[in-house]
Amino acid sequence: MSLKTAIRETYDGFKSLITGMRITAREAAKPTITVQYPHETLPMPDRFRGHVKLILDPATGQAKCNACGLCVRACPSNSLEVDGAKREGEKRKSVSKYELDFTTCSLCGCCVEACPSDAIEYSKEYNVVSRDRDDFAKMDIYKRLQAESEEWKKTHPTPPAPPAEAAPAATPTPATPVAATSSPAAAPVVAPAATPAKPATSAPVPAPAAASPAAPEQKPT
Amino acid sequence: MNPTLEQLTAQFAALVAERASVSLPVVGGALCPDGTASSVESGRRSGFTPDTSGVNPDLPKPSPVQSVAHALKGYDLNATVAPDQVVAAAQLLDRAGFGLDAVTGVDWMAQNEMEVVYDYFHPTASLRVVVRTRVPRATPELPTISPVFPGANWHERETHDFFGIRFSGHPNMKPFLLPEDADFHPLRKDYAP
């Protein structure tokens, strides 16, 4: 190596070092980009795949789910346990137990896709914390729905007298009214009951407007 | 050299000459328009008999080398050889400039056999070759090709882990992905956890 190339190389090397320091200095002058998580949160995208939840039928205040069990069969990790019962005065079966083993759930979304009656969707809940394993191993989705149902009853002080007739008629209505009516009240429901240690601020942005993202389109067939 | 390898050689020569020089992409299927010929599930197999690992001349010879449509199968050439020919096939492919892609097994429990599949790729030509052989489930043993393709070392160890197929002459047939004390072969069809 001749002296000339050596000097040239040293010069280039030194220049590259200075360039690097200039770049980091420039970056240092820019504002920070991190989100200080417990203090601020990002909005969840509409299609966020949290754990599943049952959809409330806005007309009846009951679950849309009729416990057909297709989701159970679609689940790759056998995380779901669904049971249905025929309620008095109703023609079809309705869900009476919907348990998710969140410890094995891989959030793949197969159950939502498999549902023929669009009765389940993803929740936007990502802050799931508990001191008790069973809160996840036996995550009671149906109980959450019931809580939601109670809220629904409060906003609808006089439940329609003949729910049996109204229910099937209301099923095809688009999902948007659900969010419109339930979103103000949904916040405490979204925050899981099993998270006593968690501050209330850490609950995600409550139930975004379009809670049920274009559900009919996303089925494979 | 037995007929299988002869055919293999001839077809390689033709294929490599055809494709190695051409710039890509070329999709297979030109040689075998129907492209559906497959020997896997039909039970046809190489001249294998359980007591000798060599070719049994009494059995009817299947056509051991087939051209396959790439669009249908994902590979161009499907060769079925006897267990003792895998090394010769590997050497042949090595000379032709092929690289080893993977070695794996399939447990055909119904036929009481294990299939070992060697995938080869060509680094410059759009040409993929699958070499298969079958060994009896009771005594699954094959010569190793790791002296030819050192990359086979790991693949063979993995296959041994999963299927219990022994590769004789392998330099380091230790448990690989499974725990050191694992005495089971999970990909055998009769394995129940």
Binding site: A74 | P25, F121
Partner: protein
């Protein structure tokens, strides 16, 4: 060299003048990026033999494939190589589609290409940051993650997951690409180009990095061939082997892109290949965004119960780390008979023992970084 009774097993090197000791690098070591263990026989800081020992996070995905239906295996494919999950799902979905002879709509294919290439960029960014971390530079990984975050946000908005997307379905996609995603992707491409320039100025041109990678860890083309190393490793050895052109799949034949190759076959070549690939991916994404047609995103007739005809089918894709191939063997039933996952990192690592012979420890780690290993991909 350094011999202490009971602690350092001392042996004699072949020439009898050097004493060796064994260094257990891993399973927990900062440079292993996961649970990789390398058993090194050292002569001082010189490596005489480095034997990778793997299997610490082996999950037996292939067996999982044999005891669930074809569709239920889909979530698994995102979890083999968590950094290029899109590509991996693509290979599996492609294999099943090949078996079923399903024609995928063009819109879905373009969406697959866009998401796959985004995934490739995000994967390369993790590699870039992690390599620099191995080399002792701490800042680049955070810059890379800043940009990667944008990709993850895009993909999360699209399919609801940030890492384990599970976005492709047999015959199409899980849900349609929306305008927000397409616009966001365009913005990202515009954002990313100056960032790549910044990457180059900050790191690639840096004299320290060049000294650390140039002429370090040579892996020749022939060695790649014999070990089956693919992806940036073989392209860094001067061979333009890229599944996207060698075995074209999806709509790649309709897109124009270059296969970056560098003949030096050293760590720097592999580094530069990946840096160039990010640019090429951006250009692919731009073209695909221009070309993506309207239309359905699912094939019209996909059977509800998947039962591929008997036979074996391969489908290979160019994942971020190299050739990823799925070989499915079907016996015509609802459940796969055999799913073989040919992982690129597995072959790329298998040459490490030969390649690292005689290297000094930091160089060997730099070379390991340039191989871009993802341990779950190796262990599967």
């Amino acid at each position: 060299m350094i011999a202490e009774k009971g602690l350092i097993t001392s042996g004699h090197a072949s020439d009898g003048t050097h004493e060796t000791f064994t260094l257990n690098l891993g399973p927990q070591h900062p440079a292993a990026h996961g649970v990789l263990r390398v058993l090194m026989t050292m002569d001082g800081e010189w490596i005489q033999r480095a034997e990778p020992i793997i299997g610490y996070i082996h999950r037996m995905h292939e067996k999982m494939g044999e005891n669930r239906s074809w569709a239920k295996f889909l979530p698994n494919t995102s979890r083999i190589d968590y950094l290029s999950a899109m590509n991996y799902t693509h290979a599996y979905v492609g294999a099943v589609e090949r078996a079923l002879k399903i024609e995928v709509p063009e819109r879905a294919e373009y969406a697959r290409v866009i998401t796959s290439e985004l995934n490739r960029i995000s994967s390369h960014m993790v590699w870039w940051g992690a390599l620099l971390l191995d080399l002792g530079g701490f800042t680049p990984i955070l810059y890379a993650f800043d940009d990667r975050e944008k990709i993850l946000d895009l993909l999360e908005g699209l399919c609801g997951a940030r890492l384990t997307y599970c976005y492709y379905r047999f015959g199409g996609l899980y849900n349609d690409v929306d305008d927000a995603f397409l616009k966001g992707t365009r913005d990202f491409v515009a954002h990313m180009k100056p960032r790549l320039t910044m990457y180059r100025e900050l790191v690639t041109d840096n004299i320290i990095l060049r000294k650390r990678l140039t002429d370090i860890g040579p892996i020749s083309a022939d060695m790649c061939r014999r070990y089956g190393a693919t992806g940036p490793v073989i392209r860094g050895a001067g061979v333009a082997y890229d599944v996207r052109t060698v075995e074209p799949y999806s709509v790649y034949p309709k897109l124009k892109f270059k296969i970056p190759t560098y003949p030096q076959a050293d760590s720097m070549a592999r580094y530069l290949v990946r840096m160039d690939e990010m640019e090429q991916s951006l250009s692919i994404i731009e073209q695909a965004l221009d070309l993506i047609p309207a239309g359905p995103f699912m094939a019209p007739k996909v059977p509800r119960v998947i039962k591929p005809p008997a036979g074996d089918y391969c489908y290979a894709v160019e994942a971020a780390r190299g050739r990823f191939m799925v070989r499915i063997v079907s016996d015509g039933k609802e459940i796969p008979y055999r799913v073989k996952l040919r992982a690129p990192s597995f072959s790329n690592l298998s040459l490490y023992e030969e390649a690292s012979k005689g290297m000094i420890l930091p160089d060997a780690l730099a070379m390991m970084g340039s191989l871009d290993l993802v341990i779950p991909d190796i262990d599967r």
